[in-house]
């Protein structure tokens, strides 16, 4: 009886609090956005296109809010496709950022997040003007991009009228293990990784800007032999926007990889001409370059060129040419993207891929910065 009365009292107290602070509650709730992507796709094999497949691609749920006057928190849940009913909701990003109050304008971030490495890595796929990830990004950073558990610090450098930012990350080091290194680290010691990025933003004219960036990333790709790999990355983004109806974006990245390995990514030993295991120095690279022209506010048309080797082989090359068209009838709340890509692997026939992606954005997900 006493327990029942306690529950009632608690219930009434909660109701009273909700009544008193109903309005305040809405203002402290985080901003919540839901961004699903659907895709109809087909590709050719031996000259014949497959039957177009209509699939759920991914759902992104974004929650953002201030924790207090000095810090914010972001959570990005993703539900991967294609099986909408069976797939599990995962955490793509979960981090807190201290955005003010620290000396020298220092910003700190901790948790799991997309690492400030290169230009495209920070953008979620729904913000890309095309449907597929560039080959160099997929091969060197993995399908999910460079996204890891870590601690990040950034400062603005005193460079006068040029915005210059330096970001340094200490990372868990498992972000790109599955793609570019040995995923099974059970026998090894922790494989911490480090990343750094320096960006400069230049206002060229009243209507055009240029951002250039230099990034570096190093980690352990072989936890048993403690072998390191090193990535270097140069990127740029140029934007010309004479009005809110027209714009031109040109963006590109070049990534360079250096590592010493005894095994390839599938644990097969690397052999010399005599068939004996050898330790090999591998230097490989990849790049993409795209242009996207927005016209009449709601349309965009662009093209992309990809060329890439792989982290463990200079000979495993591929290139791709892509044409994409976007239609955004009402701002960014609804988008349709038509994508054609011709991919030419080194030792195989080229593949044509055609896709129509439909996405919508429910909620106040903020615009991605320049």
């Amino acid at each position: 009886m006493q327990a029942g009365s306690k529950i009632w009292r608690t219930g009434w107290l909660m109701l009273a609090l909700c009544g008193q602070h109903g309005l305040a509650q809405t203002s402290v709730n985080p901003d919540i956005s839901v961004i699903p992507r659907f895709i109809i796709q087909t590709h050719d094999r031996a000259g014949k296109f497959s039957r177009p497949d209509y699939a759920f691609e991914e759902l992104e749920i974004v929650m953002q809010a201030y924790l207090n006057p000095f810090s914010k928190a972001d959570v990005v849940f993703t539900l991967p496709g294609p099986d909408l009913e069976e797939s599990k909701l995962g955490i793509e990003e979960l981090y807190a950022s201290v955005v003010c109050g620290l000396p020298f304008g220092l910003n700190l971030r901790f948790g799991k997040y997309r690492v400030d490495y290169g230009k495209l890595n920070l953008a979620h796929p729904h913000a890309w003007p095309f449907v597929t990830q560039p080959l160099s990004q997929e091969r060197f950073l993995g399908e999910e991009g460079l996204n890891d558990l870590g601690l990040s610090a950034s400062v603005l450098l005193p460079t006068g009228n040029i915005y210059t930012k330096l970001t340094v990350d200490l990372l868990r080091g498992e972000a790109i293990g599955e793609t570019t290194g040995i995923a099974d680290t059970t026998g090894g010691q922790p494989a911490y990784a480090n990343s750094a990025r320096l960006t400069g933003f230049f206002t060229l004219t009243e209507h055009s800007d240029l951002e250039v960036g230099l990034s570096g990333y190093t980690g352990i790709h072989d936890p048993y032999q403690r072998r390191r790999f090193y990535y270097g990355n140069v990127d740029f983004k140029y934007k010309y926007r004479p009005s809110s109806y027209n714009s031109l974006v040109v963006q590109g990245e070049y990534l360079f990889n250096s590592r010493t390995a005894q095994q390839d990514r599938d644990f097969n030993p690397l052999l010399n001409a005599q068939g004996n295991p050898e330790s090999r120095s591998i230097h490989s690279s990849g790049l993409y370059l795209y242009a996207d022209y927005q016209f009449k506010k709601i349309y965009s048309l662009g093209g992309r060129y990809d060329w890439s080797q792989t982290p463990y082989s200079k000979d495993d090359k591929a290139s791709a040419v892509t044409i994409f068209f976007g239609y955004y009838p009402v701002e960014e709340t609804l988008g349709l993207r038509l994508h054609y890509q011709n991919t030419k692997p080194a030792a195989a026939e080229s593949v044509n891929f055609v896709a129509l992606q439909v996405l919508f954005s429910l909620g106040p997900h903020k615009a991605h910065p320049f």
Binding site: V99, K165, A367, P369, F370
Partner: protein
């Protein structure tokens, strides 16, 4: 010893001559700041007059402007939805952010807001600076903020503000006289930018070219507007410089109405000059000539 003395003297005068650094969202607010602060403020702004203040790209260069600022003046009422990202990106912990809508009598405050209504602002229509009678409460807020940063200059700032408001009062009377014959005239506007302006001059905004705020004009809505303009004898279709005027031009071609480019901000069109009074002079003269 002489060098040390000169250094101390130079440092003293540098500090004494330090200006209040102000950044504003709109060019109009930069003009008001200059009127109050004279040569004792250093002012910059984010949105050019020919840019749509609702949609501004978050550029690092804007963060840099705010990095060393003392005060950031904004219109508020969610006009500048992009501002928080720029404020955060500036990393300026000493920045005072002043929302100038605090003492404004707000119009078109919606009961319930969702995206089906287009880009409706939760706290009401934010284009209040286009009624020049609202400049007084805005200037009072600005004066208080600037004086707080530089209290010794408060008498100077206060005198400047009073002189400007006196000049503005004279202009308001002249503008009202000029527009008196056109009271109750019906106009079409492209976007809901003009309710404060229309309310001040007793104009009637019959409809907008946008079917809903932020939603591009549709053929059926354009056809409805053509009928409305014909029936109502509407003479003016007001389009801001940053909107595509083709739908408005289509309506004008089918009717006797004229498309006019009125600017919501200083510098929106070359004839609107570099200050608020010149801009309003241009808007009033252009509208009066069309309604005549």
């Amino acid at each position: 010893m002489k060098r040390i003395f000169l250094f101390i003297l130079f440092s003293f005068f540098s500090i004494a001559a330090a200006k209040v650094r102000v950044v504003t969202t709109l060019a109009d607010l930069a003009d008001f700041t200059r009127q109050i602060g004279g040569n004792r403020v250093q002012v910059d702004f984010i949105v050019r007059g020919d840019q749509n203040p609702h949609f501004v790209e978050v550029k690092p260069s804007y963060m840099l402007k705010l990095k060393s600022a003392d005060i950031f003046f904004m219109i508020g009422m969610e006009l500048e939805m992009w501002a928080p990202q720029i404020i955060d990106g500036s990393r300026n912990t000493k920045l005072t952010v002043v929302d100038l809508s605090k003492n404004i009598r707000k119009m078109e405050v919606p009961g319930r807001v969702d995206a089906s209504q287009g880009d409706v602002h939760r706290f009401g229509n934010p284009h209040y600076w286009l009624d020049p009678r609202n400049v007084r409460p805005m200037l009072e807020e600005m004066l208080a903020a600037i004086s707080k940063v530089s209290p010794t200059d408060e008498p100077y700032f206060r005198a400047n503000a009073a002189a400007y408001l006196k000049k503005l009062d004279g202009k308001i009377a002249a503008w009202e006289n000029r527009m008196k014959p056109f009271a109750e005239s019906r106009v079409i506007t492209f976007h809901k930018s003009w309710p404060y302006f229309a309310n001040w001059l007793r104009l009637v905004v019959a409809d907008q070219v946008e079917p809903k705020p932020g939603i591009p004009p549709s053929p059926s809505h354009t056809a409805e507007l053509i009928a409305l303009v014909r029936q109502g004898g509407i003479k003016a279709i007001i389009v801001e410089p940053f909107y595509d005027a083709s739908a408005a031009a289509q309506i004008a071609r089918s009717t006797n109405a004229k498309v006019i480019r009125l600017t919501t901000s200083v510098g929106g069109v070359p004839q609107s000059g570099k200050d608020y009074i010149t801009m309003m002079d241009y808007n009033i003269a252009t509208l009066a000539a069309t309604l005549r």
